[in-house]
Symmetry: C2
Subunit: 134 residues, 2 copies
Protein backbone atom coordinates (compact mmCIF):
# COMPACT_ATOMS: atom_id res chain seq x y z
CA UNK A 1 0.00 0.00 0.00
CA UNK A 2 2.90 2.34 0.74
CA UNK A 3 4.24 1.98 -2.80
CA UNK A 4 0.76 2.54 -4.20
CA UNK A 5 0.39 5.74 -2.24
CA UNK A 6 3.75 6.98 -3.49
CA UNK A 7 2.51 6.31 -7.02
CA UNK A 8 -0.67 8.27 -6.28
CA UNK A 9 1.46 11.17 -5.05
CA UNK A 10 3.70 11.08 -8.11
CA UNK A 11 0.75 11.99 -10.33
CA UNK A 12 -0.35 15.02 -8.32
CA UNK A 13 1.09 18.41 -9.19
CA UNK A 14 1.83 20.22 -5.97
CA UNK A 15 2.28 23.97 -6.56
CA UNK A 16 5.35 26.09 -5.82
CA UNK A 17 4.33 26.13 -2.15
CA UNK A 18 4.02 22.33 -2.15
CA UNK A 19 0.24 22.48 -1.88
CA UNK A 20 -2.72 21.37 -3.95
CA UNK A 21 -6.27 22.68 -3.41
CA UNK A 22 -8.62 20.01 -2.07
CA UNK A 23 -12.38 20.23 -2.39
CA UNK A 24 -14.37 18.23 0.17
CA UNK A 25 -17.79 17.05 -0.99
CA UNK A 26 -20.33 15.00 0.93
CA UNK A 27 -20.33 11.75 -1.02
CA UNK A 28 -24.06 11.06 -1.10
CA UNK A 29 -25.70 14.48 -1.24
CA UNK A 30 -23.15 16.27 -3.43
CA UNK A 31 -22.96 19.17 -0.99
CA UNK A 32 -19.67 21.03 -1.13
CA UNK A 33 -18.40 21.24 2.41
CA UNK A 34 -15.16 23.22 2.17
CA UNK A 35 -11.96 23.85 0.31
CA UNK A 36 -8.65 23.25 2.03
CA UNK A 37 -5.05 22.52 1.06
CA UNK A 38 -2.95 19.38 1.07
CA UNK A 39 0.77 18.77 0.86
CA UNK A 40 2.33 15.37 0.18
CA UNK A 41 2.19 14.36 3.82
CA UNK A 42 -1.48 15.28 4.02
CA UNK A 43 -2.34 13.12 1.01
CA UNK A 44 -0.27 10.26 2.45
CA UNK A 45 -2.06 10.52 5.79
CA UNK A 46 -5.47 10.75 4.14
CA UNK A 47 -4.95 7.64 2.02
CA UNK A 48 -3.30 5.71 4.83
CA UNK A 49 -5.81 6.56 7.53
CA UNK A 50 -8.96 6.84 5.39
CA UNK A 51 -9.89 10.21 6.81
CA UNK A 52 -9.27 13.71 5.55
CA UNK A 53 -6.01 15.28 6.61
CA UNK A 54 -5.12 18.73 5.30
CA UNK A 55 -2.25 21.17 5.60
CA UNK A 56 -3.25 24.12 7.72
CA UNK A 57 -1.69 27.18 6.15
CA UNK A 58 -2.52 29.33 9.18
CA UNK A 59 -1.03 26.88 11.68
CA UNK A 60 1.75 25.62 9.43
CA UNK A 61 1.14 21.99 10.26
CA UNK A 62 -0.86 18.90 9.32
CA UNK A 63 -4.48 19.15 10.33
CA UNK A 64 -6.46 15.97 10.75
CA UNK A 65 -9.95 17.34 10.18
CA UNK A 66 -11.89 16.81 13.39
CA UNK A 67 -8.85 16.30 15.62
CA UNK A 68 -10.12 19.04 17.93
CA UNK A 69 -13.81 19.30 17.08
CA UNK A 70 -14.53 15.61 16.50
CA UNK A 71 -16.09 16.52 13.15
CA UNK A 72 -14.16 13.92 11.16
CA UNK A 73 -14.38 13.40 7.40
CA UNK A 74 -14.20 9.72 6.47
CA UNK A 75 -12.73 9.35 3.01
CA UNK A 76 -14.91 7.59 0.46
CA UNK A 77 -12.87 8.40 -2.64
CA UNK A 78 -10.02 10.61 -3.78
CA UNK A 79 -10.25 12.14 -7.25
CA UNK A 80 -7.83 14.11 -9.39
CA UNK A 81 -8.52 16.59 -12.16
CA UNK A 82 -7.28 16.74 -15.75
CA UNK A 83 -4.35 19.02 -14.93
CA UNK A 84 -3.51 17.06 -11.77
CA UNK A 85 -3.52 20.29 -9.79
CA UNK A 86 -6.82 19.90 -7.93
CA UNK A 87 -8.06 17.01 -5.80
CA UNK A 88 -11.58 16.18 -4.75
CA UNK A 89 -12.31 14.27 -1.57
CA UNK A 90 -15.63 12.50 -1.47
CA UNK A 91 -16.22 12.18 2.24
CA UNK A 92 -18.72 11.27 4.88
CA UNK A 93 -18.77 14.30 7.15
CA UNK A 94 -19.51 13.71 10.83
CA UNK A 95 -21.55 16.62 12.09
CA UNK A 96 -20.46 19.87 10.52
CA UNK A 97 -17.55 20.97 8.36
CA UNK A 98 -17.39 24.65 9.26
CA UNK A 99 -15.76 26.14 12.35
CA UNK A 100 -18.83 28.37 12.68
CA UNK A 101 -20.91 25.27 13.37
CA UNK A 102 -22.50 25.22 9.94
CA UNK A 103 -22.66 22.13 7.83
CA UNK A 104 -20.81 23.78 4.91
CA UNK A 105 -18.25 26.58 4.89
CA UNK A 106 -19.89 28.01 1.77
CA UNK A 107 -22.81 29.62 3.54
CA UNK A 108 -22.83 33.07 1.96
CA UNK A 109 -24.71 33.67 -1.29
CA UNK A 110 -24.68 36.80 -3.42
CA UNK A 111 -28.37 37.67 -3.62
CA UNK A 112 -30.11 40.96 -4.29
CA UNK A 113 -26.92 42.94 -4.15
CA UNK A 114 -25.53 41.58 -0.90
CA UNK A 115 -23.87 38.56 0.70
CA UNK A 116 -26.68 36.72 2.44
CA UNK A 117 -26.19 34.00 5.01
CA UNK A 118 -28.12 30.99 3.76
CA UNK A 119 -27.59 28.49 6.57
CA UNK A 120 -27.47 28.64 10.33
CA UNK A 121 -25.11 26.90 12.77
CA UNK A 122 -26.18 23.41 13.77
CA UNK A 123 -23.92 23.43 16.79
CA UNK A 124 -22.41 26.28 18.81
CA UNK A 125 -18.73 26.89 17.98
CA UNK A 126 -17.78 26.82 21.66
CA UNK A 127 -19.10 23.28 21.86
CA UNK A 128 -16.91 22.38 18.89
CA UNK A 129 -13.82 23.99 20.39
CA UNK A 130 -14.25 23.94 24.16
CA UNK A 131 -10.55 24.60 24.75
CA UNK A 132 -10.93 27.94 22.97
CA UNK A 133 -12.87 29.16 26.02
CA UNK A 134 -9.71 29.29 28.09
CA UNK B 1 -25.32 47.30 -9.86
CA UNK B 2 -21.75 48.49 -10.28
CA UNK B 3 -21.59 49.64 -6.66
CA UNK B 4 -23.11 46.37 -5.50
CA UNK B 5 -20.46 44.41 -7.36
CA UNK B 6 -17.72 46.50 -5.79
CA UNK B 7 -19.21 45.69 -2.39
CA UNK B 8 -19.21 41.99 -3.29
CA UNK B 9 -15.55 42.25 -4.23
CA UNK B 10 -14.65 44.04 -1.01
CA UNK B 11 -15.66 40.97 1.00
CA UNK B 12 -13.55 38.49 -0.96
CA UNK B 13 -9.99 37.84 0.16
CA UNK B 14 -7.82 37.62 -2.90
CA UNK B 15 -4.48 35.96 -2.12
CA UNK B 16 -1.00 37.43 -2.52
CA UNK B 17 -1.23 36.68 -6.25
CA UNK B 18 -4.58 38.49 -6.45
CA UNK B 19 -6.46 35.24 -7.02
CA UNK B 20 -9.15 33.26 -5.23
CA UNK B 21 -9.91 29.60 -5.99
CA UNK B 22 -13.31 29.12 -7.62
CA UNK B 23 -15.18 25.82 -7.59
CA UNK B 24 -17.72 25.35 -10.38
CA UNK B 25 -20.64 23.06 -9.55
CA UNK B 26 -23.57 22.12 -11.75
CA UNK B 27 -26.45 23.81 -9.93
CA UNK B 28 -29.04 21.05 -10.18
CA UNK B 29 -27.06 17.80 -10.02
CA UNK B 30 -24.36 18.89 -7.56
CA UNK B 31 -21.64 17.58 -9.85
CA UNK B 32 -18.32 19.33 -9.38
CA UNK B 33 -17.19 20.44 -12.80
CA UNK B 34 -13.81 22.06 -12.21
CA UNK B 35 -11.69 24.34 -10.09
CA UNK B 36 -10.29 27.52 -11.57
CA UNK B 37 -9.05 30.90 -10.35
CA UNK B 38 -10.56 34.35 -10.33
CA UNK B 39 -9.08 37.80 -9.86
CA UNK B 40 -11.14 40.93 -9.21
CA UNK B 41 -11.79 41.53 -12.87
CA UNK B 42 -12.97 37.94 -13.32
CA UNK B 43 -15.49 38.26 -10.47
CA UNK B 44 -16.65 41.60 -11.88
CA UNK B 45 -17.14 40.11 -15.32
CA UNK B 46 -18.90 37.06 -13.94
CA UNK B 47 -21.41 39.07 -11.93
CA UNK B 48 -21.93 41.64 -14.69
CA UNK B 49 -22.34 39.16 -17.53
CA UNK B 50 -23.97 36.31 -15.63
CA UNK B 51 -21.53 33.73 -16.98
CA UNK B 52 -18.36 32.32 -15.52
CA UNK B 53 -15.21 34.25 -16.26
CA UNK B 54 -11.92 33.07 -14.74
CA UNK B 55 -8.32 34.19 -14.70
CA UNK B 56 -6.22 31.84 -16.78
CA UNK B 57 -2.93 31.41 -14.95
CA UNK B 58 -1.33 29.68 -17.94
CA UNK B 59 -2.38 32.37 -20.43
CA UNK B 60 -2.12 35.30 -18.01
CA UNK B 61 -5.46 36.79 -19.05
CA UNK B 62 -9.20 36.74 -18.40
CA UNK B 63 -10.85 33.61 -19.68
CA UNK B 64 -14.55 33.67 -20.39
CA UNK B 65 -15.32 30.01 -20.04
CA UNK B 66 -16.56 28.78 -23.40
CA UNK B 67 -15.18 31.72 -25.40
CA UNK B 68 -13.38 29.27 -27.69
CA UNK B 69 -15.22 26.00 -27.12
CA UNK B 70 -18.74 27.36 -26.76
CA UNK B 71 -19.06 25.40 -23.51
CA UNK B 72 -20.38 28.34 -21.49
CA UNK B 73 -21.22 28.28 -17.78
CA UNK B 74 -24.29 30.38 -17.01
CA UNK B 75 -24.08 31.67 -13.45
CA UNK B 76 -26.93 30.67 -11.17
CA UNK B 77 -25.39 31.81 -7.88
CA UNK B 78 -22.09 32.97 -6.43
CA UNK B 79 -21.20 31.78 -2.93
CA UNK B 80 -18.42 32.66 -0.53
CA UNK B 81 -16.93 30.63 2.29
CA UNK B 82 -16.41 31.42 5.96
CA UNK B 83 -12.86 32.69 5.48
CA UNK B 84 -13.81 34.60 2.31
CA UNK B 85 -10.94 32.93 0.48
CA UNK B 86 -12.89 30.44 -1.66
CA UNK B 87 -15.81 31.06 -4.00
CA UNK B 88 -18.32 28.59 -5.36
CA UNK B 89 -20.08 29.14 -8.65
CA UNK B 90 -23.34 27.32 -9.09
CA UNK B 91 -23.63 27.17 -12.85
CA UNK B 92 -25.54 25.67 -15.71
CA UNK B 93 -22.83 24.08 -17.85
CA UNK B 94 -23.44 23.96 -21.59
CA UNK B 95 -22.00 20.73 -22.88
CA UNK B 96 -18.80 19.80 -21.09
CA UNK B 97 -16.49 21.57 -18.65
CA UNK B 98 -13.24 19.73 -19.39
CA UNK B 99 -10.88 20.44 -22.28
CA UNK B 100 -10.62 16.66 -22.74
CA UNK B 101 -14.31 16.64 -23.74
CA UNK B 102 -15.47 15.17 -20.45
CA UNK B 103 -18.32 16.63 -18.49
CA UNK B 104 -16.15 17.15 -15.37
CA UNK B 105 -12.43 17.77 -15.03
CA UNK B 106 -12.35 15.49 -11.98
CA UNK B 107 -12.42 12.24 -13.91
CA UNK B 108 -9.66 10.27 -12.20
CA UNK B 109 -10.43 8.25 -9.08
CA UNK B 110 -7.95 6.51 -6.81
CA UNK B 111 -9.23 2.91 -6.86
CA UNK B 112 -7.44 -0.36 -6.19
CA UNK B 113 -4.06 1.27 -6.00
CA UNK B 114 -4.21 3.30 -9.19
CA UNK B 115 -5.73 6.39 -10.79
CA UNK B 116 -8.64 5.11 -12.81
CA UNK B 117 -10.45 7.11 -15.47
CA UNK B 118 -14.12 7.06 -14.49
CA UNK B 119 -15.71 8.99 -17.35
CA UNK B 120 -15.23 9.18 -21.08
CA UNK B 121 -15.23 12.19 -23.40
CA UNK B 122 -18.66 13.23 -24.63
CA UNK B 123 -17.18 15.24 -27.46
CA UNK B 124 -13.83 15.07 -29.24
CA UNK B 125 -11.40 17.79 -28.10
CA UNK B 126 -10.68 18.81 -31.69
CA UNK B 127 -14.34 19.62 -32.13
CA UNK B 128 -14.16 21.82 -29.03
CA UNK B 129 -11.03 23.62 -30.22
CA UNK B 130 -11.04 23.45 -34.02
CA UNK B 131 -8.47 26.23 -34.34
CA UNK B 132 -5.97 24.04 -32.51
CA UNK B 133 -5.79 21.93 -35.67
CA UNK B 134 -3.87 24.66 -37.48
Amino acid sequence: MKDQIERALAEIWFGPDGLVPAIAQQHDTGEILMLAWMNRDAVRATLTEGRACYWSRSRGRLWRKGETSGQVQQLRELRLDCDADTVLLLVDQSGVACHTGRRSCLFRAWREGGWQIISEPEIAPDLLYPQARD
